[in-house]
């Protein structure tokens, strides 16, 4: 990664972004929702919720067929369609659709949690009374975890490095960070980084059973917060070396200056109680950006809205920012989007890019009352104008996987 403020031909810049989310499938619609508080929460439509303890989720309302211009490859399902749609928009935004086609020095890095598991669920729902048989399972066995990456490579005829990082709820940040690293090391001329997730019954039941889900509203960092809402979507960013982008006349929307990683090595689903692993990832990202924590203007939190995540993330931010942790803006957009799992990190990075460009911090909506366990400025319920130069985006996942990105303004 190329440190911010240091001239480098390989400094990775974002030249295009695209997304499909529960709160908008265009950048303008998405941003308007972020600053007006338009949430994507609604009764679940993807499957029958009777008998389930929870019924609300954040699904993408736009028909995916409309969102994706390219035909979906034969085995692709909803997750592939979401990913392809986001990629097309990002490539269009970067004016790189023809530039990238057929390149051998282009990479695809895709993050996801469950991949195409929804196809299997739909097959199974047709005859719930009997055990899964080969016909059902073939939908899974024909849709390996790297199907989305393969599909993107096939549609855009890419012959370079193709990577799938199923890093669960941090996968989107992993994808962007790994893509930026490939660019920074000079291994590729352009990279597509994607986080994608389709709304799955499996995840819905799983999080409900873990008592991690809210019955109605997601209230990150608020006292008595009831838990997360699940979401779906995809976010894609195009990453190029600054020099290469400039050479082809592309405009840098932001820079990816830092990518921090750590592992809790503590518990498979729960965060480390002190937030130590999360703090390490954020510190690592800031250090790799060549910055000091005092130079960070805003943190886009993982902020799922669960009691434990928000508390430990707050502790982690105190560890990183010290006394400044109570004053630096730290907000979560998951109150509106829900937790898009594999897509979350990518979509939240795009929210950061828009915040950098528009000098506005998207707030944490649905906030009712401050929680002493979360002694941070979570930018409650109202957007805030601010000159932003360097921002952090945090993502945490099962397996104790922690990832943080440092994104910097283009000008």
């Amino acid at each position: 990664m190329s440190p911010a403020g240091r001239a480098s031909a390989q400094r990775p810049c974002i030249t295009g972004v695209g997304l499909v989310t529960p709160i908008g499938a265009t950048l303008d619609a998405f941003w308007t929702s972020l600053i007006t508080g338009s949430a994507g929460a609604a009764p679940v439509r993807s499957f029958d919720t009777s008998g389930l303890s929870r019924t609300i989720g954040c699904e993408v309302a736009t028909p995916i067929e409309e969102a994706a211009a390219s035909p979906i490859p034969r085995r692709g399902g909803r997750c592939t369609a979401l990913a392809l749609a986001a990629v097309e928009r990002a490539l269009a935004d970067a004016q790189a659709l023809s530039y990238i086609a057929g390149r051998t020095d282009a990479a695809v890095v895709v993050g996801t949690t469950m991949g195409e598991v929804t196809q299997f669920e739909q097959d199974r729902a047709r005859h719930p009374e009997r055990e899964a048989d080969a016909a059902d399972v073939s939908t899974l066995a024909n849709r390996p975890l790297d199907l989305m990456a393969r599909s993107i490579a096939a549609v855009h005829r890419l012959e370079g490095r193709v990577v799938t990082v199923p890093a669960a709820c941090a996968a989107g940040s992993y994808a962007i960070g790994m893509a930026a690293s490939l660019v920074a090391r000079g291994e590729v001329r352009i990279a597509i980084a994607v986080g994608c997730e389709a709304f799955s019954r499996l995840a819905f039941v799983g999080f409900a059973r873990m008592h991690a889900m809210s019955a109605d509203v997601c209230r990150p960092f608020s006292r008595g917060r009831p838990g997360l809402l699940l979401g779906e979507g995809a976010g894609a960013v195009i990453v190029e070396p600054e020099s290469a982008a400039r050479a082809r006349g592309a405009r840098a929307a932001a820079f990816v200056d830092g990518f921090g990683l750590s592992c809790d090595a503590h518990h498979v689903t729960g965060p480390h109680p002190t937030g130590a692993g999360a703090a390490r990832a954020t510190r690592d990202a800031i250090r790799r950006a060549g910055l000091d924590p005092s130079q960070i203007d805003y943190v886009n939190a993982h902020g799922t809205g669960t009691a434990l995540n928000d508390k430990t993330e707050s502790l982690a931010m105190h560890e990183v920012f010290g006394a400044r942790a109570t004053t630096i803006p730290i907000s979560s957009i998951k109150a509106l989007t829900g937790h898009m799992m594999g897509a979350a990190g990518a979509v939240e990075a795009i929210a950061c890019v828009l915040a950098l460009q528009r000098s506005v911090i998207p707030p944490t909506w649905n906030h009712i009352e401050s929680d002493p366990d979360c002694a941070i400025d979570c930018v409650p319920n109202a957007p805030r104008e601010a000159k932003l130069t360097h921002v952090v985006s945090n993502s945490y996942a099962f397996g104790g996987n922690n990832a943080s990105l440092v994104l910097s303004a283009a000008s």
Binding site: A132, A134, L145, A154, S181, G206, S262, A265
Partner: protein, 396 residues
């Protein structure tokens, strides 16, 4: 430029849980492929695998088989990391499938028992990055943790990602490799589609091959810089002279061209000529097209017959183990280097005439095995490869 070394290996396979046992099984020519009569398909399960033999830890029975295999392999590798603080060790695990069996079991439990009665721990094990997370939890390896997925190239892709992480100084040592489990759902689905053979005698590149035999396993390698290995007194098993991957997905690149392009790139990166490769470990698994494309790609670069390096096709012994396959193949190469032996292969006598020119040795060859190339992957997927160089410390 930093040189990267393999300083340890841990594995669980149908042919045993040590490099020696794996190599002996291949050298003996005795395949470990069997039939599952109830499912009417050939397969290579690790019979009697019990993670408790490897790990003294509560709750192992709750883990998916993929997690169990991965943790068992890690336990066999862990002694090689003596002196390295756990916080300086990263993990990269390649897996093609995660745990399909757990996904199916969870869905089944939610349907039959009801969503309120499913085991939340089972849910966690449906998530593909959890096996790598379990390794981190068991051994405290917390520098960084990643999972990569790329079909049968998953394991070699994990080794490539491990080098990326080391280049970026994210860990002192990265434990990298892959794991995949054999399970009835996958067997049934692939059997019904004709993508697996029913014949345990379906051997890679053989004229009579009728498809791959599904296997399982886990294999992890410790990777670090030669400099750091020397500083902690670790003996390098080999130097990683080159590592990379190419996409054979787009259709414009046939697998044959992708294999030859990758092999050429690896030779270039290693700074060696084709006649400096002493052994090639193939990805061939009994799939008609896959074996042919790989063989033709290899022959395009290395030539035919005695002019070409000798070949080994481990999947003829242990089956297609997906995420574990590439790292297991690397262990075969490491063991060949250690012993100075290239095993004879029964495949020479049954070679597909269309692949005439492939050099499967007719008898065991003794002599220095200085460098080996390991390939894995197929058309429609990623094809990954590495070059290992014997005597890592000398090669520095």
């Amino acid at each position: 430029m930093t040189a990267w070394a393999v300083t340890g290996a841990g594995l669980v396979s149908v042919a045993g849980s040590s490099p020696e046992a794996l190599f002996d099984a291949i050298a003996s020519g005795r395949a470990r492929l069997t039939r599952n009569d109830s499912l009417d398909v050939a397969c290579a399960p690790i019979e009697g695998f019990d993670p408790k033999r490897h790990l003294d830890r509560k709750g192992l029975g709750d883990l998916s088989r993929t997690s169990q295999l991965a943790c068992a392999a890690a336990s066999l590798l862990a002694p090689a990391l003596g002196g390295v603080p756990p916080a300086e060790v990263g993990v990269v695990l390649g897996t093609a499938w995660g745990s399909l069996k757990t996904v199916v079991a969870f869905e089944r439990a939610a349907q039959v028992d009801g969503p309120r009665f499913v085991d939340p721990f089972l849910f966690a094990e449906t998530v593909a990055n959890v096996p790598a997370g379990q390794i981190a939890i068991v051994f405290g390896w917390s520098a960084c943790n990643a999972t990569v997925s790329a079909g049968s190239a998953s394991g070699l892709s994990a080794l490539c990602s491990a080098i990326d992480l080391l280049v970026e100084e994210r860990a002192q040592v990265v434990v990298a490799g892959g794991a995949d489990e054999l399970n009835p759902p996958l067997l049934m689905a692939w059997r019904d589609e004709g993508r697996l053979t029913k014949e345990p005698g379906s051997l890679p590149c053989a004229a009579t091959r009728s498809g791959p035999v599904a296997g399982e396993g886990a294999c992890l390698l410790a990777i670090e810089s030669l400099e750091r290995a020397a500083a902690r007194g670790a003996r390098p098993l080999a130097r990683i002279a080159a590592a990379g991957s190419v996409s054979a997905i787009a259709g414009t690149t046939g697998a044959r061209r992708a294999v030859s392009a990758l092999a050429g790139t690896l030779l270039q990166e290693a700074g060696i000529a084709r006649d400096q490769i002493d052994l090639i470990v193939l990805s061939a698994n009994g799939d008609k097209e896959r074996d042919t494309e790989e063989a033709l790609g290899v022959m395009e670069v290395f030539g035919r017959g005695d002019a070409a390096p000798p070949l080994v096709a481990p999947k003829g012994t242990i089956g297609e183990t997906w995420g574990a396959a590439g790292p297991l193949a690397a262990v075969v190469a490491l063991e060949a280097m250690r012993r100075g032996t290239i095993p004879a292969s029964p495949l020479h006598a049954m070679l597909d005439p269309a692949l005439d020119g492939l050099r499967f040795p007719t008898e065991e060859t003794r002599g220095e095995v200085r460098r080996a190339m390991i390939l894995d992957g197929a058309a429609g997927e990623l094809i990954a490869g590495i070059v290992l160089e014997n005597g890592g410390s000398d090669a520095a």
